[in-house]
């Protein structure tokens, strides 16, 4: 108070003058502060746009693939020298030679081992499997000549998509002059076409970018989400019901509450360590199985489900419960017949958001060995499998230029999944939300 006493009392006019003198700088500060705020918001929005533009511009081309048309002569002398059409002989025949011959027919002047190898390298090494499959399906085509479209090699594909740097001295380039020559010649003959990249959605992982797809990873992710939702949703809802409706005020319940809040903030990699130590080393469950991944993600998602379900239950007004109890329903009946149906949309919304987080989770899956190179699409949750985010991680590490494009495309697929899940959650909330 002493400070106030020492000050002289000012007249209103003096006060007014003082305030007005300071107003300009105060308003300037106000505008500056507002500018900082707007700059922050704009920077965030700009980042969002930059991010999506980068991903889409890198990834959109992966949905298309360059194909090369070759006239393959199914020469019986190469495929089936014995003439017995024995399936075993057919399956182990030298199909590579067919591709090579067909390309050599197109470019008769090419000779020498090195150049021939470059020439055959124009077509994906997966062409061999296509040919074998065709012959195994219908041995009658042996002896005929057919025009077949093969996926081009990833470098050729990149070249036609304009993603291969062809300026500068040849020595420094990955894509050499003779490759450019072959590619241009093939295109001049109308043997190059860009088509929708079906392989990307139907194949498993591969060392060759043009043969690599997300099917195996996506299947693994779906299995994992199924396991997660089957475990985390019922248990989470049950836990939430107990804590909101039945829990007495005692120590054990306090401990449970503190635990749930802490678990929600434990780093996901710690859950991976738990999965490794408990599920794999202690219970002996198989490594890399999507079932184990689902278990780990379920434990990780459960706190989220519990917290969301609790707020959904809390939003049901007490009058509903009192009315049910007043009509003679027991507490369990009140919950199952009245509270639960009213809270269910909110619970589902929370669960879907939790699942969306689980779908994008990678770190715990690395711990339980889901980083394997998976070619075959898993058939059951116990098969070794990968997951979409893990596939992204693996491809992001690959040196081939074409994998950058495919990684971005896989990211787009993953983001599309997440967007759909979030949209469903938002729709559920707006459709069923009640204001009491």
């Amino acid at each position: 108070m002493s400070e106030f006493k020492r000050q002289k009392l000012r007249s209103p006019a003096e006060n007014r003058a003082l305030v007005e003198a300071s107003l300009r700088s105060r308003y300037r500060r106000e505008r500056r502060f507002q500018g900082y705020g707007m700059a922050s918001v704009l920077a965030s929005v700009a980042f969002v746009l930059f991010f999506f533009v980068t991903i889409v511009s890198q990834g959109h081309s992966a949905f298309f693939q360059t194909y090369v048309k070759l006239d393959i002569a199914f020469d019986p002398a190469i495929i089936d020298p014995d003439g017995g059409r024995d399936p075993e002989a057919l399956s182990s025949a030298n199909y590579k030679k067919l591709v090579k011959q067909s390309l050599q027919n197109l470019f008769p002047d090419v000779s020498g081992r090195k150049e021939t190898r470059v020439l055959t390298g124009m077509v994906s090494s997966g062409a061999v499997y296509t040919l074998r499959e065709m012959v195994m399906d219908d041995p009658a085509i042996v002896g005929s000549t057919q025009a077949i479209w093969f996926p081009a090699d990833d470098e050729v594909d990149m070249f036609f998509k304009g993603r291969m740097d062809v300026t500068g001295p040849e020595k420094k380039r990955r894509f050499k002059d003779d490759q450019i020559g072959f590619a241009d010649a093939l295109q001049a003959q109308g043997r190059i076409e860009t088509r929708f990249n079906k392989i990307f959605f139907t194949a498993g992982d591969s060392r060759d970018p043009e043969m690599a797809g997300i099917r195996a990873a996506a299947t693994g992710s779906i299995f994992m989400l199924l396991v997660t939702v089957l475990i985390a949703f019922p248990l989470g809802v049950a836990a939430a019901i107990y804590l909101e409706e039945f829990a007495p005020k005692n120590r054990w319940v306090d401990i449970i509450e503190v635990n749930i809040n802490n678990l929600a903030a434990v780093p996901s990699i710690i859950y991976g360590l738990l999965g490794l130590a408990v599920f794999i080393n202690f219970f002996g469950l198989p490594r890399s199985a999507s079932f184990v991944g689902g278990l780990v993600l379920a434990l990780m998602t459960m706190p989220t489900v519990i917290i969301a379900s609790r707020s959904a239950i809390m939003a049901v007004p007490p009058s509903i419960r009192e009315a049910a109890l007043g009509l003679g329903a027991s507490r369990v009946q009140t919950v199952t017949d009245h509270v639960l149906p009213l809270a269910l949309p909110g619970m589902l919304t929370g669960a879907i958001l939790g699942l969306a987080r689980a779908l994008g989770e990678t770190a715990p899956l690395l711990m339980i060995g889901m980083v394997a190179f998976i070619v075959d699409v898993p058939q059951t949750p116990m098969d070794p499998s990968s997951a979409l985010p893990v596939q992204i991680y693996l491809w992001a590490d690959s040196p081939e230029r074409a994998f950058v494009e495919r990684t971005s495309a896989a990211i787009m697929v993953l983001l599309a999944f997440l967007l759909v899940m979030n949209a469903v959650a938002v729709w559920l909330r707006s459709r069923f939300e009640r204001r009491w």
Binding site: Y27, R29, E30, F33, Q34, G37, A39, S40, V41, A43, S44, V45, F47, T54, P234, A238, A239, I241, Y242, L243, F246, A247, W252, V253, I256, N259, N262, L263, A265, V266, P267, S268, I269, I270, L273, L274, L276, A277, V278, M302, V332, L359, G360, T362, A363, L366, M367, V371, P389, I392, Y393, A396, D397, V404, T407, S408, I411, L414, L415, N422
Partner: protein, 461 residues
Amino acid sequence: MRLSTILLIYAAILIAGYMVGRRKAATIGFAPGARTMHSLPAYHGYNVMLWGAIPALVALIAYFAFGDAFIISTVVNSLPEAVRSLPESQLHLIVNDIRNVAAGNAMGGQPDEIISAAADQLNSLRNQLSIGLGVAVLALAAVGCGVGFVRVGADARARNQVESIVVFCLLLAASIAVLTTIGILFSVLFEAIRFFQKVPLTEFLFGLNWSPQTAIREDQVGSSGSFGAVPLFTGTLMITGIAMLVAVPVGLMVAIYMAEYVSPRVRAFIKPLLELLAGIPTVVYGFFAALTVAPLLRNFGIDVGLEISSESALGAGLVMGIMILPFISSISDDVINAVPQGLRDGSYGLGATKSETIKRVILPAALPGIVGGILLAVSRAIGETMIVVMAAGLAANLTANPFEAVTTVTVQIVTLLVGDQEFDSPKTMAAFGLGLTLFIVTLMLNMVALQVVRRFREEYD
């Protein structure tokens, strides 16, 4: 007996129990001149079912928990004395051989006689035990249902019994949270303790040199393996610090601007955009950091004459900051909105401008909540894995230069545990040591943060 058959018959018995129990209750209850039943018929049905279900379930659980161990110990006990006296680890290998042979995938030719005999014994024991299990489960289920059925009557308090079991099951579900924490603690602690037996705790916490390669042969050069984790801690702190430098000011300003300045229409447009950031998986941020931000930074460094590593702490930190940003802004938004309107009105009434009100009234009032949110964000940044795995380095550098590559605790956990590993080497155990450190640090941060936030909420509720 196959397990699936047992489970199928078990389920059939339970359903039958429900039906007959319910029918009996209905016949008693709806008989002319009958007394009022205490419980509805369906509850009697459920009660009969539970009478049959629970004892059999206990038997099933006991089988899964102890059956295999029992069989193995019986088989080991009947092995010849010479084999049994082998040291633990060799015995373990033999048991594994026996299991493999019993499962029919003998590796490398003809197994020797003792093992194949033991495998036969194992298989026959398994057979016997599964038959025993089947008989026990089905008998328990049938007898239990029978007992329940006999107890159906007008006075039986079936509903109360069923409901108390339901509530007990709900309690069990809630207790899983505690179980998970215990599971985490033990799985990490167990290996970590073994690690600290080999590497003293003081070396781990204060050692300046981290190179976890251990010798494959005794006489190998330069592979002593040193486990001083200080470079990892400083690396983690540096990246976290950079992330916070980005996320806290920007996130806070975004929250303030959105809460105090922006019109509802603009808000409805921008908010979902920012929430989009929160929904992006961290592996995507990692990809972005490694393939877009890092080259940008390096080229920028070349332009201005700085040497910026392509795995610099700066790149990882920047992207992590963007990842954390929506988290900070959404928590701050909540907290700022929780400040009572009266405080704002009072400040405006005294002639303060908007920014003065925010700086001198709202922020001080919201400070505890914001600090709590920042602590939570720090714990997130410390535990964040994918961004740093993809964008930060592997080599443990003790440096304060953000343009150099540093490594973090989580990166090391991943590199130590991914790929082929032997479970007993100090290398893998070191990962659990790091995991324990990470768990303790984040747990403490969370506890403090939650406490602070709760205190704040109570103040204004």
